[in-house]
Point group: C2
Chain length 263, copies 2
């Protein structure tokens, strides 16, 4: 269910496209959440790349959480610290931003030339910072404690995130779009990059977790709002979002909707 090999490749002028349709990437990530793996899924989907979302397969096919945890413990010289990790032949790459750096030129989503490549990556790293802060709104004290046991701290942290951090981060992305010499429809130049896809995902996650605070912030951010809508309208992304491959947001992931954190 998680391969997209059946989807025909688009013409080059339809946007990003996989350079080598025979290649099949393996993505390893927790099978029941979007989490950080979703940034990789979106890039693979947007490019029409063939991939297997390994942990979402059945246990008999090597999937499941136990197999994923086991894979992390293999004594490979370059085993990743944590999911997601991508396997491409003999290459294993962990860290979401590093995976996207690797996939960028292969999927036509990394910007053209060194300056754009680094700028795209810089944008991704800033998105990663927001994502980590969004996670910590519900786990400000420890990842190994239940939310309920750190709820009081979460209320304080979430307020600071809503009032200060969401407007600051999204405002910066609005500025990046507004100042893009090639126009405000993309973050880098006038073509889709993984940074656009990741900003789409960030907005989607913030709207899920903090619907009120996100609406307040986005009211003044027309370019970010439009980028989110435009990405969702791309044919492959549209198809993906309406497929069973897209896991719904839920309260096990990074973006969690706890109404008390959005007051």
């Amino acid at each position: 269910m998680s391969t997209v090999a059946t989807e025909p490749l688009r013409r080059a002028d339809d946007g990003a496209s996989a350079r080598n349709p025979a290649k099949v990437y393996q993505l390893h990530y927790w099978p029941t959440i979007q989490g950080r793996g979703e940034f990789v899924r979106l890039a693979l989907e947007a490019a029409g790349a063939s991939y297997v979302d390994v942990a979402r397969k059945s246990a008999s096919q090597g999937g499941g959480e136990a197999a994923l945890a086991h894979a992390l413990e293999e004594p490979a010289p370059r085993a990743a610290f944590a999911p997601p990790f991508l396997v491409d032949g003999n290459v294993v790459i962990g860290q979401t931003a590093a995976i996207l750096l690797y996939l960028g030129p292969r999927l036509g989503l990394g910007g053209v030339g060194e300056a754009d490549t680094i700028w795209t990556h810089q944008l991704q790293l800033t998105i990663a910072d927001v994502v980590a802060e969004a996670h910590d709104t519900h786990h400000p004290l420890s990842v190994s404690m239940y939310y309920e046991d750190q709820r009081e701290a979460a209320l304080v942290r979430a307020k600071a995130f809503r009032d200060e951090r969401i407007p600051k981060f999204l405002g910066w992305f609005e500025q990046v779009l507004q100042r893009n010499p090639a126009g405000d429809r993309h973050l880098v130049g006038d073509a889709l990059t993984y940074a656009d896809l990741s900003l789409f995902q960030l907005v989607a996650g913030l709207r899920y977790a903090f619907p009120k605070a996100s609406a307040r912030a986005l009211a003044d951010l027309p370019a970010v709002t439009r980028l989110h809508a435009n990405v969702a309208r791309r044919q492959r992304i549209h198809d993906y979002l309406h497929s069973s491959r897209r896991i719904a947001f839920n309260e096990d992931g990074i973006f969690r909707h706890y109404p008390e954190l959005d007051d």
Copy 2:
């Protein structure tokens, strides 16, 4: 004081060396802390690169915190979200890991070939994760609140960091060193990379902030311990650490020594 142009370039077999000694990089970072800028300073210093630590200059020479804050607000299309940022001619790069990705091949500190380049970067991103968590031990609720006002939450977060996260992260780096087919003296291959320098800085910071917890963790991690010592013994790094260019750790930075957080 913050240029190193007077230090002679070493022979190539002495390790990393700047490819173009005529070039002068501009580093922009808060002038009174090591912080995230230190990872960039260490790379520039290790390579004998010429650079200006702009904010450490006098206000009349364009330095100081006010000038740095002002620089961030310039309406440049690719203005960084936050310091540090590096200026190399017309190129401006923010995000510590992106700066190191850019400097890597220029300073001979980025690994050789794509697989090593991505692996070096993946290591750096994992170090960045620990650094962010180390920061949040003293600011678990909000960056805009005083430490004293979030001390109770800090006690809980620091305990989880000491007991679970420090051993897990440093243990993973030990494993990376032990499993390196080229030997356990470097993280990537058998030559110095910015990941080695950053792991040195991570260990130095953890030892400053959490001397007891770090000693406990490092007792079982001989390769990480030796890498830290070896980096400190490199001539250029030794000279740097004993110069006025190295800012001392202090309680305005990321790694802060609050004894109550190290119990």
